[in-house]
């Protein structure tokens, strides 16, 4: 029974380490994919099947593909660790130490604390076996909450996505509106200068 936790957990940590240490971004992407899958499995064991699906679809299907595109686009992500002297050599060691200490602190805190709050007494009304409609974590349950109680955050998220789309277009578009207008203005000025020069003759 514990394997259902430990196997994904080990995969999770290992793939995370690989992601961070991979020499090429492409390897990182692969490692991250592994990480996401392991996480989805963990979500399933926690009876969050809808989220598990989302995790796979959005993260693995969309975000990682986006990463791949960018890697391909820049085509310079091939030699990440051979880039010359690190400009922050002094940061790395202390950072590692700090991170390790912080992690240790958290783990120690978790280990020694008896205070991880127990489940509240008012348990979920329709708790049942996973996968059943209307039960905790099911799509229906999730959807009902999302579109009633949490409607406003949901709408705001939609707005954020919208902003992201526009922002991406503005930032990365080859011919952004801003650039275009500037170019047109420049052309106009140039034409006017030439016209004036001609009249001067």
């Amino acid at each position: 029974m514990s394997a259902i936790f430990w196997v994904p957990a080990i995969v999770l940590v290992a793939s995370a380490v690989w992601t961070v240490t991979a020499s090429k971004p492409v390897y990182s992407v692969v490692a991250l994919l592994l990480n996401f899958v392991a996480l989805a499995v963990l979500f399933l064991t926690l009876s969050a099947e809808f989220l598990a699906m989302i995790q796979l679809i959005v993260y693995s299907g969309a975000i990682l593909v986006l990463f791949l595109f960018v890697i391909a686009l820049l085509s310079s992500g091939v030699a990440p660790l051979s880039l010359g002297p690190n400009r922050l050599p002094r940061i790395v060691a202390p950072a590692a130490i700090c991170v390790a200490v912080a992690l240790g602190l958290v783990l120690a805190g978790v280990a020694t604390s008896h205070g991880i709050p127990a489940p509240p007494r008012a348990a979920y009304a329709n708790a049942g076996s996973a996968g059943m409609p209307g039960v905790f974590g099911s799509v229906g349950d999730f959807g009902k909450a999302l579109f009633t109680t949490y409607l406003l955050p949901f709408e705001v998220t939609a707005l954020i996505l919208m902003v992201a789309v526009i922002g991406t277009i503005v930032l990365a578009g080859d011919e952004t509106p801003y650039v275009a207008s500037r170019r047109r203005a420049e052309q106009n000025r140039k034409a006017m200068r030439e016209a004036i020069a001609r009249e001067g003759d």
Partner: protein
Amino acid sequence: MPAHLLPMPLANYVSLSAVMFFIGVAGVIVRRNPLIMLMSIELMFNAANLLFVAYARAWLNNAGHIFAFLVITVAAAEAAIALAIVVVAFRSSDRVDVDDVRTLHG
């Protein structure tokens, strides 16, 4: 299995999330490739999501699920914007190194 019981004690999930989170932190600080830094950030997001979902299960309250969902959405938006910035910043350079970008220097 009673619905309110977790497969494992909650402490395991918290520890797992912490480990993953700090791996992400280390990645952001140590790596110089912006793409890998971004992926490290995704790792941190996921660590947070894991906690949300674990606690949602422990307390049988699906607010955690909702927030995990929102995190995923925001992460998607963030990735899109961040990648756009990376593309703009490094489009014309032959190497990808965040330390090359210092326009924020005061």
